[in-house]
Symmetry: C2
Subunit: 192 residues, 2 copies
């Protein structure tokens, strides 16, 4: 963290703290201490807390889109690709960087942060929907299923899995939810 310039260190420190504590609970003071820079440095590079968070969110969005694309656009059938996405190794107890923000009233109310979180989830569900449709076109998944709704259920199970895991204090709760959904998805295949 100390081999970078101050601006980069600020964003990286904020990224870690926001992942753990969310937006509202991440104070500029804590970010500065973690980055090892003074306050003046932050207010030189950013307009304030919200602007720093914007930089964090933009970086996270790029990373997440790339990860999702890797899982969903790779080889395999539709269900195999959904399974690869759902079962990807995750830092379950830290939660989803975006799901955490969506729960924060300050984020949703922010004109700069709110739309970015909304866009991320809108994109994700659309992306999942495409995979479901491909599965239907290939005759793998039943045509009777509503692709958008199934995609929404997949995204929701993931987000809810994080909630259950944090509530239980046990990552296994996340795995149970994911495997439960995959079990149901398996019954929705035309081939068996």
């Amino acid at each position: 963290m100390y081999g970078m310039e101050a601006k980069t260190r600020l964003v990286e420190s904020a990224r870690e703290l926001m992942w753990d504590r969310g937006y509202a609970a991440t104070s500029p003071r804590a970010v500065l201490d973690a980055a090892g820079v003074g306050q003046g440095s932050m207010y030189h590079h950013f307009r304030g807390k919200e602007d720093l968070a914007r930089a964090v969110v933009e970086g996270n969005a790029e990373t997440m889109r790339a990860q999702v694309d890797r899982d969903l656009a790779g080889p395999g059938s539709a269900v195999e690709r959904l399974a690869r996405y759902l079962r990807r190794e995750r830092d379950v107890m830290r939660g989803c960087r975006f799901g955490k923000l969506a729960q924060d009233p300050d984020v949703v109310a922010s004109p700069v942060l709110g739309p970015r979180v909304a866009d991320m989830f809108g994109w994700l569900v659309e992306r999942l929907e495409v995979v479901v449709r491909e599965g239907q076109a290939a005759g793998e998944l039943r045509d009777s299923l509503d692709a958008h709704r199934v995609a929404s259920a997949v995204a929701a199970t993931l987000q809810g899995g994080y909630v259950l895991a944090r509530a239980a204090g046990d990552p296994a709760a996340f795995d149970s939810a994911v495997e439960g959904l995959l079990g149901l998805l398996d019954t929705a295949r035309t081939t068996s």
Copy 2:
């Protein structure tokens, strides 16, 4: 709110504020203003913010257990009862009173609040699991399904549905997720 004694007004005010803002973001100051009482009154009836939250959570737990039992223990097949639970009218944009707490680091870290939230979700998943097993015993749901995992997926979809709705700023995202799961549950029925 003003027809009750101060202690009751404090709990009710805190309940509303915590539903909207969560635990950490709900200040005693805001609760006192909403309840229309002074600070001394609160510190007479409660040991502090955490103790007041405990009273709120205990009341919420009772309410939620009663609601879930009404939905799941009533008449109908297993899938019908799960659908009644999932489709029950909800204040989607306000979210789940317990899911919100599970996401709050201060709550999870609290020895008095954390276990209460954990117990609530543990009880819920167990309760859903019983319904799935009943469906299997009745020959309605496939025996190949893991009841615990399916129950976890149901609970997770609900919690994740709230996340998607808040991110999108649209309750319809919640409905899509719920209907997506119900669509998958329908394919898991042995009868059609």
